[in-house]
């Protein structure tokens, strides 16, 4: 079964998976469009996939790259009053604490979202980010340190001390 057939056969599952990924990375209401584009791209460029066993990782990488391009274009277009973000929400913590995730450096934030937010294994996250697993581990370590430094002034209820 070729790439095209596998994409068609698993379209619903792949589309849902990619939509969740794109949304988590910040695509907002464009997530479905990006996921659709990524799947179409995968069908058209099937020859670019070297290892067919890695189809899911490949389409995820395409979708992630397109999401980043989309976000870059969006930033150029100007600021917004509100930002749609995929963040951890603990009802007992202030929203400021949740927002700390959005202020992490780009690659660290992506690694955190993939691993902690979407539950990807570090290996899966590495494939999406096109880096090694070790790099993902390093990014997660740094992200945790940065978060700790940012949240150092907060008490247990998540309010500034």
């Amino acid at each position: 079964m070729g790439v095209r057939d596998r994409v068609d056969a698993n379209y619903t599952k792949l589309f849902a998976d990619l939509t969740v990924l794109c949304r988590a990375l910040g695509a907002g209401s464009s997530a479905e469009d990006i996921a659709q584009d990524a799947l179409l791209h995968a069908r058209e460029r099937e020859h670019q996939l070297r290892d067919e066993a890695k189809l899911e990782a490949w389409v995820r990488r395409i979708a992630a790259r397109r999401t980043f391009e989309h976000l870059k274009r969006q930033r150029r277009q100007g600021s917004e009053d509100q930002i749609v973000a995929f963040v951890p929400v603990d009802p007992s913590l202030s929203i400021d604490v949740s927002a700390a995730i959005t202020r992490l450096p780009g690659r660290e934030r992506v690694a955190v979202v993939l691993v902690y937010g979407l539950g990807y294994e570090q290996e899966e996250a590495a494939q999406v980010m096109d880096v090694t697993r070790g790099t993902v581990a390093t990014l997660l370590h740094r992200a945790r340190r940065h978060l700790a430094e940012r949240l150092a002034g907060y008490d247990h209820a998540g309010e500034p001390a």
Binding site: A16, R144, A152
Partner: protein
């Protein structure tokens, strides 16, 4: 205290254990005495707590970034945080100088500016009041209702006459802005002349949990145009009424009513207020403020009421619901909890759990057609009991005025969401079709055109039912199947034999003896069926009136064609 700080990595390492016990004695003594190290340690713990929380897509105001950094600047001042930089020592003095300069400038500025030149700079106060509060817990300047429960009972759903007679709303000063006049609010309050079951009219909403009373929406112009909730006892007699068309049972004697409302069932329109009335229609309380602030950008501008039947109430749309930022509050007893994110869809039968959908899909949907991840929270919403961020459910009713068909199993271990059965322990889902739970935990649904009884995830067809209809269950163990094509509903009070019932039997009460235990379902089934049928008849009649009457065609007589 040792002078050298403990390294950040070392603090991060021990923070995972949750205590300082993993540090060496000297390190521990230092951390206990060093505010900077202690803060970093608590920062690590806060970060771990944050990363372990459930993730959701949510809307954050861009201003939060600015405000947070300002807070951190204050938090990092010498009196709040061990200073690591010298300039922090001078920060208070610098702030004081700036403040004095600003005040002096403010006084001097009008004298420096020529009198003919009008001042155009907005005042700082105006700027602050215009900024939107990002969090409902901090919404002092927000028009949203406060999380505190001590607000006065302001129930605009009840007419002034009713308020006076109840002695509740009238005794408490009410903000005029929230007492909006309601269309139809001049109706005479309180019980009216009892009516027989056969003369009932209106749109059925729900039976009380104990089956003692029912709610009907009195429609004035089609099913969406009603303006009054009627409360009737089991025999059909009116016991009370209140303005509004959206209502739910909070418990067997309390009804939450939204008004003014263009909604129906449990859904209400933007800008509504929520009153609590007893079965006589007298107001006994209210939720503070207005609900469902319109959101013109994302649609979904309504709200919804969810009642547990055992005292809890959840209301969505407190601060304007959209697909990225729906919020809700819960009310338990007399207190209203803080605003939380998500759309509540159902309470468990014991009222201890609340199922919440965190919508992920964009514009175009509605509260009756939600798609999102599922979270189970405590009844107050403060504690997450289970979270399924990767489980995306579609919760829809299939019937426009209704709210998604959702029900917890009696033991609270499973949730039926619009035909999908979710095991709340594992997150596994099974497509079972729409239906309901019986008290023994058996799920009864219509799946593939057949009435099925589910034991866990194993179905057994119930051949006593014809299939092809819609199934309802009652809390007493009854099953009813009713049909959209006009066939009479089928019912069985388990484990009795199947009874075929007609609307006439139900209406004149001849079927009552066998329906005693099944009345909850049966009446709703009949009303839904009967109302739909009546509406169809009315629509057809209206259509026939509009169409041009066919003129009688003259009999065709054979004529000879001239050659």
């Amino acid at each position: 205290m040792p002078s050298s700080h403990v390294s950040s990595d070392r603090l991060g390492e021990v923070a995972q254990t949750g205590s300082l016990a993993g540090l060496r004695e000297a390190e521990r003594r230092h951390v206990e005495g060093c505010q900077k190290c202690r803060s970093l340690f608590s920062g690590y713990r806060m970060a771990d707590r944050l990363l372990a929380a459930s993730w959701r897509q949510t809307t954050l105001p861009a201003s939060i970034l600015v405000r947070e950094s300002a807070r951190r600047r204050v938090a990092n001042l010498p009196w709040g945080f061990a200073s690591g930089f010298e300039f922090r020592r001078f920060a208070p003095a610098a702030l004081a100088i700036l403040l004095v300069a600003a005040i002096g400038l403010a006084f001097e500025l009008p004298q420096l500016i020529p009198a003919t030149r009008p001042s155009t700079s907005p005042s700082p106060t105006a700027t602050r009041s215009a900024s939107q509060s990002p969090s409902a817990t901090e919404g002092q300047a927000s028009p949203q209702p406060s999380a505190s429960a001590s607000a006065p009972d302001n129930g605009p759903s009840v007419s002034p006459a009713e308020e006076q007679s109840s002695g509740v709303g009238g005794a408490t000063p009410q903000p005029k802005a929230t007492v909006a006049p309601t269309p139809g609010s001049t109706d005479t309050p309180g019980p009216i002349v009892p009516a027989g079951v056969s003369s009932l009219s209106g749109w059925p909403i729900a039976w009380a949990p104990d089956g003692g009373h029912m709610l009907l929406a009195q429609v004035s112009a089609g099913p969406q145009g009603g303006s009054r909730i009627q409360i009737r006892d089991a025999a059909g007699r009116v016991t009370g009424s209140a303005n509004g068309t959206a209502a739910v049972w909070v418990d067997s004697t309390t009804v939450a009513v939204a008004s003014p409302s263009a909604g129906l069932g449990s859904r209400f329109a933007a800008g509504s207020t929520i009153a609590l009335v007893d079965v006589t229609g007298h107001q006994i309380g209210a939720l503070p403020g207005q609900y469902a602030t319109p959101d013109t950008t994302e649609g979904l501008d309504g709200g919804v009421l969810v009642g547990s039947g055992s005292g809890e109430l959840a209301v969505v749309g407190q601060s304007g619901a959209n697909f990225y930022g729906a919020t809700y509050v819960t009310r338990n007893g007399h207190s209203v909890g803080a605003s939380r994110q998500g759309v509540p869809i159902a309470f468990s039968q014991d009222g201890g759990k609340l199922a919440v959908i965190h919508p992920t899909y964009g514009p175009g949907g509605s509260l009756g057609n939600l798609t999102g991840s599922l979270e189970i929270v405590s009844s107050s919403g403060s504690k997450t009991l289970a979270s399924f961020p990767r489980l995306h459910l579609a919760a829809s009713s299939g019937v426009p005025p209704d709210y998604p068909n959702v029900a917890f199993s009696p033991n609270g271990a499973s949730l039926l969401v619009s035909g999908t059965l979710v095991d709340l322990a594992t997150g596994l889902t099974t497509d079972v079709g729409n239906g309901g739970w019986l008290p023994d935990g058996t799920l009864t649904t219509v799946s593939n055109g057949q009435v099925m009884r589910w034991s866990g995830t194993h179905p057994t067809a119930d051949s006593r039912f014809a299939g092809g209809g819609v199934v309802e269950t009652s809390s007493r163990g009854d099953v009813v199947e009713y049909f959209a094509d006009g066939r009479p509903p089928l019912a069985t009070p388990l484990p009795a034999t199947l009874l075929a019932l007609t609307p006439t039997q139900l209406a004149d009460g001849t079927a009552a003896p066998v329906l005693t235990s099944a009345r909850t379902s049966l009446f709703q089934a009949w009303m839904a069926f009967w109302t739909a049928r009546m509406d169809a008849h009315k629509a057809l009649a209206a259509l026939e009136d509009l169409l041009p009457k066919p003129t009688p065609t003259p009999a065709v007589t054979p004529t000879e064609t001239p050659i």
